[in-house]
């Protein structure tokens, strides 16, 4: 036991010793909520260019927000890169983020320069991703059904059990859909629509990207979600057709923020400047992430669904990103739609 007690700190030393690194210009810790390979590529590119030792931790935007909130007293991360804007917004409102106006801001499309709810330049939009649904063309052909084009098509009885969407309780993507219907139809009409849609849902998934993956693999005929996620699946050779619904649809903004009291503030700012530049934005397309970049000079990937081709609603990020509206809409769905028999 005595020996054991002595070996404990030694073991600790041994583990600590294994994380060896080279001394670079400085350090930067990125919390990344974009796709994994994108996070990897961006960290490597930036680190090489500015001789900064970058450590990147990838987690979904919900997990990252929970982590940042838990680390409030003593922030471990410097920059929060990617992921849907709403949690960025909440972090800004709750005082977890640093205000920063990058010199590259003038190259960013006007609505995306300061989109977060706090309106204090806590976050910048780096990409937009369009909400829609994807259809597995093989399954559609087998069932001899017609390609749905609109949200209204999805409530037709022949789609019974053939649609997947994430649960708004667990997924930010599904919440964007809920908020989109509310802005499209008005709240009460939106819940009428959701009640009808409920009859056709085969399964509510936990994660927002699952319906797209499941549609790609034939687990469901239709998957509702962000079309850039689905585009990635299609790129792998799955029989998917991406649909931007005819009535109009909502979209997400990808956020980029600096943590308040970041340990490596200078490098964090350097990273934001770089990520907002044409070069930084074009990293995404090299790893098959086909969102639309917000930098007006950056090339839009050919595979991306361009906003001008789609009937986009004027999504109110301040109202629907706010906690009160969010809680109200989600609880209403949980109480009025979810328990219904189907």
């Amino acid at each position: 036991m005595k020996k054991l007690l002595l070996t404990l700190p030694l073991a600790a030393l041994m583990i600590a010793g294994t994380t060896q690194g080279v001394q670079a210009e400085g350090k930067l810790t990125i919390y990344c909520s974009a796709q994994g390979d994108w996070c990897q590529k961006a960290s490597e590119t930036f680190g090489k260019k500015y001789d900064v030792k970058v450590s990147m931790t990838r987690n979904g935007s919900g997990s990252t927000y929970a982590k940042i909130l838990a680390e409030k007293e003593n922030p471990r991360g410097d920059v929060w890169y990617g992921g849907t804007l709403d949690p960025h917004s909440q972090a800004g409102v709750n005082g977890l983020l640093e205000s920063y106006k990058s010199p590259n801001l003038d190259k960013i499309g006007e609505p995306y320069r300061n989109p977060a709810a706090s309106k204090q330049n806590h976050s910048t939009g780096i990409y937009i991703g369009i909400l829609g649904f994807s259809v597995n063309t093989d399954l559609l052909k087998d069932a001899k059904m017609e390609m749905p084009k609109c949200w209204a098509d999805l409530v037709k009885p022949e789609f019974k059990g053939k649609i997947q969407v994430a649960s708004p309780q667990s997924s930010g993507t599904a919440y964007t859909a809920l908020a989109t219907f509310t802005q499209l139809y008005g709240e009460d009409k939106a819940f009428e629509y959701l009640t009808k849609l409920h009859q056709n849902i085969g399964q509510y998934t936990k994660s927002g990207s699952a319906p797209g993956k499941n549609a790609a693999r034939g687990e469901t005929m239709v998957g509702i979600g962000f079309l850039h996620d689905h585009g990635k699946e299609k790129g792998k050779g799955f029989p998917l057709e991406l649909v931007a619904p005819c009535e109009g649809t909502g979209y997400e903004i990808g956020g980029l923020s600096i943590m308040k009291n970041a340990r490596n503030m200078d490098n964090a700012k350097k990273f934001v400047d770089w990520a907002l530049s044409k070069e930084g934005m074009e990293v995404a397309a090299t790893v098959q992430s086909f969102q639309v970049p917000t930098n007006t000079e950056a090339a839009i990937p050919a595979e991306a669904i361009r906003p001008e081709d789609v009937n986009l609603i004027d999504y109110d990020f301040v109202k629907y990103g706010g906690e009160a509206t969010r809680k109200a809409l989600i609880s209403r769905w949980v109480e009025q739609v979810k328990p219904l028999e189907r």
């Binding site: 073991a11 987690n59 667990s170 799955f238 906690e323």
Partner: protein, 695 residues
């Protein structure tokens, strides 16, 4: 019972002085404060500033008390030991809380000195007559209690305090009740309980069949059976779910097959008739999770039961048969009752594991919400709500503990001792035919099923795109392994092995130690130890993860972001397995064996090493193996704890799953599975099989 407290005051004084001097040495040469970036990443001045003597800080309290101990002005006092104990304990607490208040994170030398104060405290307690004045046992108990307080109770209290305190510190006592009665909670609870009981029964049954099959029915399949029983344990979390979908999914093999047989125009339905089978997604929901969890937890039950089955003394069965009992009677009234603690433990473990399991309901749950996933999504879902997460966490915990209490009652006070000092010769009696039949058919079916499942996992890594393009390829493996050390999967693979190797022996030791002191010793706070140890097992990993971040991201113990926090989370998350197998094994070993050793004036250390540990070897080995494997497959507890430098295999795989690279995910999964199997067999070969050798 003899008294071992009569050690001479001179030698124990030496002991104390030695520790104090060592502590002082550490004070001088090892940094006192924690280093933001670890020992090897920090600059010279950062390290210099961390030294105790560089600034005014809590280390001077430690210095002062150390010097005081060298002098020991109270050494002639009648209650010198009491003063020793009080001074060291107070110093320990003052430094910990003082550093917290001064926002000073404690480093290596602080850890060493705090440990020494704890040792002095234990020794003083022992000399006051605690645990019959046994210094070794006292130290063990104090160490256990201190580490449970710091690494279980403290972090968990930080998250549960969020039930009644809002983010800004407002006290809201009604929030718990409000959350408890909020919509959907009752249904979620019912789902969780139904699933847990069902999985508990099925896993225990399968585990029992399997252990009877491998120990008592045939030796022929023994090696094979062992692999099969271990496979689900060594499988990383998402992989079982993925492979079940491949087989049972809407587009899976079974659906295709059944459709061809019973669907419209099917083989048994006849052309033109409406079939009664339609392509269905039945794997998502209760049955999917039930199946996946049964697959995952049967091996836990098996590992517990196989030890019990093989340590049953054949003489008792022989005695029963000699008295003209039939094989069936012997099995029902002798063998099975002897297995009761094992069966109860297996059932309990499966129930608790099912309640806390997060990976399987996550992948296969569909609309079937259970507490563990609901807690996760209360934290990372569309709306972060700690109060709701904590409320559900408390609910989950209460039921896990209830299961624990019921199991206690059921085992009761009966004696299950079969390993005694008396000779234990004899031969096992053949099992009754019906038992043989059931065990054999169940075990073989299960082996077949497992083979199909793992075949699909293995093959999944060698096709271009699972589910769409079945062209054979090596691309996934090349991407992961062929780009050189430092790229692809290598860094996370090496890190995982390292963490698991460091964590596993510590976990097993800690678990068995707790099992030993809680079953064999009577002391104040025994119930607390027992209870707290179960807590860390019963709480879902996500809650542990977030509570570790909350607790250890600030002074005094700032270890968030380091490798240490991950190893510690492994130890305290997996420790209960060691405890359970220790308790099961100890309940079969007669206490008089140790008492004999102690009465012949062997010290308690000697008794433990020469009597208890050899008898506990099967439990010890299975605890080490199991915690090694558990550490390699843990995901939910460490999602929030890993950083770029401490990325482990499971988080890497999860990343691949999230990006839809199922091919890479299953390839990496296959490599992990093979690695763990190799480790297990090496352990068995060189350290020994988990079986008590008989005279």
């Amino acid at each position: 019972m003899n008294k071992t407290s009569a050690s001479s005051s001179l030698s124990s004084l030496d002991f104390r002085t030695k520790w104090v001097l060592l502590g002082l040495l550490a004070w001088i040469i090892i940094p006192w404060k924690g280093l933001e970036y670890g020992l090897f990443e920090s600059t010279g001045s950062e390290i210099l500033n961390a030294y105790a003597w560089k600034s005014v800080n809590t280390s001077f309290i430690s210095l002062a008390v150390s010097l005081l101990f060298l002098l020991r002005p109270w050494k002639l006092h009648l209650k010198a030991n009491l003063i020793d104990a009080a001074v060291s304990l107070v110093t320990f607490i003052v430094i910990l809380f003082g550093a917290g208040l001064l926002n000073e994170s404690l480093g290596y030398s602080a850890a060493i000195q705090l440990t020494f104060f704890l040792l002095i405290f234990s020794l003083a307690l022992a000399r006051m007559g605690f645990i019959q004045g046994d210094p070794f046992m006292t130290t063990a108990i104090v160490t256990i209690m201190a580490s449970i307080a710091v690494f279980v109770l403290f972090p968990i209290s930080t998250i549960f305090s969020k039930v009644v305190f809002l983010e800004d510190g407002t006290f809201t006592p009604m929030a718990f009740y409000k959350n408890l009665t909020s919509f959907g909670v009752a249904r979620t609870l019912q789902n969780s309980l139904m699933l847990a009981v069902a999985v508990g029964m099925s896993s225990t049954f399968l585990g029992l069949c399997f252990s009877l099959f491998t120990v008592r029915i045939t030796k022929r399949f023994k090696g094979l059976a062992r692999i099969f029983s271990m496979l689900p344990i060594v499988t990383p979390p998402f992989v079982i779910g993925l492979s079940l979908i491949l087989i049972f999914g809407r587009n899976g093999t079974i659906n295709d097959g059944l459709l061809a047989l019973f669907g419209t125009d099917g083989l048994f339905i006849g052309a033109g008739n409406e079939g009664w089978f339609h392509r269905s997604a039945y794997i998502y929901g209760f049955w999917g999770v039930f199946l996946a969890q049964t697959l995952s937890f049967t091996p836990i039950c098996f590992m517990l039961l196989v030890g019990m089955v093989s340590t049953i003394n054949p003489a008792v069965e022989e005695a029963s048969v000699t008295m003209r009992a039939s094989n069936s009677q012997t099995f029902s009234y002798v063998t099975l009752p002897l297995l009761r603690p094992g069966i109860a433990n297996a059932f309990l473990l499966a129930v608790i594991s099912s309640l806390a399991d997060f990976g399987n309901p996550m992948v296969l749950g569909g609309d079937y919400d259970v507490l563990a996933t609901e807690i996760y999504f209360s934290i990372v879902g569309a709306q972060l709500d700690y109060a709701r997460a904590s409320t559900l966490g408390i609910l989950l915990l209460s039921f896990s503990l209830l299961a624990f209490v019921i199991q206690r009652q059921w085992i009761g006070k009966k004696s299950y001792v079969t390993v005694t000092g008396k000779g234990s010769g004899g031969y096992f009696q053949p099992l009754p035919a019906w038992v043989r039949g059931i065990s054999t058919s169940v075990s073989l079916t299960w082996m077949l099923f497992t083979a199909v499942l793992y075949g699909s996992i293995l093959l999944g890594g060698f096709v271009v795109n699972w589910g769409a393009d079945y062209t054979p390829t090596l691309a996934h493996y090349e991407e992961l392994w062929a780009r050189g050390i430092g790229y692809g999967a290598w860094p996370s693979y090496i890190t995982t092995l390292k963490f698991a190797a460091v964590g596993a022996p510590l976990t097993a030791l800690m678990g068995l130690m707790i099992a030993y002191v809680t079953t064999r010793k009577r002391f104040i706070g025994r119930g607390v130890v027992d209870f707290s140890a179960m807590i860390s097992f019963a709480i879902p990993g996500t809650v542990i993860g977030i509570s570790y971040v909350l607790a250890f991201n600030t002074a005094p113990i700032l270890i968030n972001g380091t490798a240490i926090i991950i190893v510690i989370s492994f130890i305290f998350k997996n420790m209960p397995v060691g405890i359970r197998s220790g308790i099961s094994a100890l309940s079969q070993i007669d206490k008089s064996l140790e008492e004999a050793s102690l009465t012949q004036r062997a010290s308690s250390i000697r008794t433990i090493f020469t009597i208890v540990l050899p008898l506990l070897r099967p439990a010890m080995i299975s605890a080490i193996v199991f915690s090694f494997v558990k550490s390699m497959t843990t995901v939910s507890a460490i999602i929030f704890l890993v950083t770029a430098d401490t990325q482990v295999a499971t988080t890497y795989i999860m990343g691949r799953v999230e990006d839809g690279d199922y091919g890479q995910a299953v390839s990496y999964g296959s490599v992990l599975i093979v690695t763990m199997l190799i480790v297990i067999f090496l352990v068995e070969k060189f350290i020994g099989r988990s079986r008590v050798e008989r005279a």
